[in-house]
Symmetry: C2
Subunit: 341 residues, 2 copies
């Protein structure tokens, strides 16, 4: 076994397919051969599901799914799966309630993440708040969801909660944005004593000179705690003459001060190559949103949205991907410093 | 005396010049005949002072001033005045310290506001934080200034603190922005139990159909508490073929829920007309940043930046301006609702 340890609950049934026998040219991560796992028109009235997040739950998995309705408006849908590959969805969008139990729906909601902290599951998404901003809700049973205060003023996207408090504080990554297609963007981190009031904002890492993440970057899957630091899968965007290209990157953040980047892989881990990544409503998008991971076996299943049209999964061994990120790390002061204003 | 009451400490020496005898065509507010009160090259190495804020202090006045150095970089300077009209500046920019007393300067800082809450004075400005964002510091003696945490993630400008807590919470107006010249922008409000962590963000009011505030709006002077609600002087911007035009607007916010606008004047209160407003580094700018006001006499002296080159002052009677705002009020649901996400 590797010297590097993953610190997380055991998930012996992590979705998995063995590494292909033919050598991998780039990062040690490989796509599921049956991708995409969620195809078009998955629910009545929903044209596409993509950019969605899953967690282990009871003896299987549950998830929050960006479902784009046939009127073009996205909401969050709930799904269950025995194996993390084959999903069944509830027909109606998730009905968020306020603290008093009254319906409290955002106008639209997209790109959800889902994180368990202690005994509560938190969904974090992007929604309208007089512009793109972060919305949140919590549940303990996946039956009742309570809307929480929006953590930040607009404009913001791609918020990701850490799976535990650090030095007594909840921590959240996010990406200040504009309300359009945002041709810029760095990852920031904020902290909160109570998930209600937020502060101590710090810059984590910026877009950089590597073509595949030179336009903007944004948080992806919830950080995985390891003995080396917080392992993150994020997205990096290149602006081409024919539009944006979204690739998946990897980095490792300091355990105690996660605004400091310890390692940042100069190579993308995954970039659009397959038909379901290159073709769709928004071509050329690999958009990571969640992992299912097991410390015993070292297996990671990475869920990512494809071309704003599908959900796919890729696999890697935790120690191999950490080693690859370390071996190909290139950071600058924007990454490694505290990022204080 | 008017039925409308101003709730504020007495300032018997509020700077003042009587209303001119010839009728005023628009809002009942008139410019000081000796404007601008701060001219070019006011300090060695400082080309222009503008967009600055003052408060009564001891037997006179003090202020924080946006000084644009001859290298083009703005910092905050400190000044004192016996009469609020004639100012003496410290030669060096304000040296902000961290909690440990070490130098902690922003890269640049501009458009400061200054608000007293209880026995502490808070300066709030715009600065670099990987983009335009809000910076803060506090002092009790105007000798030592302690930098505080930046309240918000970028991008943001025009933050204004309320002069007291409301229902136990500090309240701050701000204007989510981009990092450029920001061709959009509405006023939001946020609250904090401790000035360190912020949340419960609400939309206050948006740019609207009136030409003079159709591009963006932003907080100006600190709100003045009145029996009718919080009186605010803000700026509204029109986008013309030859650039932005900044006028001064007025509104009254609900005392307990200041995200609700009670009255919003459809007419500007002041718009660039004089040479010092029309000519300068940025022509056509009237940019309100502070008031000095006295509940006994009802006098208000409004300080505003002119053309990013000068500071001027205008005067009004409190009850007349409130009545004018009420008589010419036009609000829509974006203004009058709670503004929750």
């Amino acid at each position: 076994m590797s010297e590097i340890k993953m610190i997380a609950p055991a998930v012996p049934n992590v979705p998995w397919q063995d590494k292909p026998e033919k050598p991998i040219a780039g990062a040690p991560i490989w796509r599921y051969t049956e991708n995409p796992i969620i195809n078009r028109n998955p629910i009545e009235g929903v044209a596409r599901i993509f950019n969605s997040a899953v967690v282990p739950y009871e003896d299987g998995f549950v998830g929050v799914f960006r479902g784009e309705q046939t009127n073009g408006i996205s909401f969050i849908y709930f799904g269950r799966s025995k194996d993390g590959i084959n999903w069944e969805f509830e027909k109606d969008k998730i009905r968020f309630k306020d603290e008093q139990g009254n319906d409290f729906m955002p106008k639209y909601a997209y790109d959800p993440r889902l994180v368990k902290i202690d005994d509560t599951y938190y969904a974090i998404w992007c929604q309208d708040f007089y512009g793109a901003s972060i919305g949140m809700a919590k549940t303990t049973d996946f039956k009742t969801w309570t809307r929480m205060e929006c953590p930040f003023i607009p404009f913001n996207r791609n918020a990701v909660l850490f799976p535990r408090k650090i030095n007594g504080m909840y921590k959240m990554l996010s990406r200040p944005s504009d309300s359009g297609h945002t041709p810029f963007g760095d990852i920031f981190i904020s902290e909160s004593p109570d998930l209600e009031y937020w502060g101590h904002h710090r810059h984590v890492m910026g877009r950089n000179g590597m073509w595949w993440e030179s336009l903007k970057i944004g948080g992806g899957a919830a950080p995985i705690e390891t003995s080396e630091g917080w392992l993150i899968f994020y997205h990096g965007v290149s602006g081409t003459c024919n539009g944006y290209v979204y690739s998946i990157g990897g980095a490792i953040l300091d355990l105690e001060e996660p605004s400091k980047v310890l390692y940042r892989c100069e190579n993308f881990l995954l970039t659009p190559e397959e038909w379901y990544e290159e073709r769709g409503f928004v071509p050329n998008v690999c958009f990571p949103c969640a992992t299912v991971h097991d410390p015993e076996s070292g297996k990671i299943a990475l869920y990512y949205g494809c071309a704003d049209s599908y959900v796919s999964v890729a696999f890697c061994y935790f120690d191999e991907i950490v080693q690859y990120i370390k071996d190909h790390s290139d950071t600058d002061w924007n990454d490694t410093d505290l990022g204080k204003c």
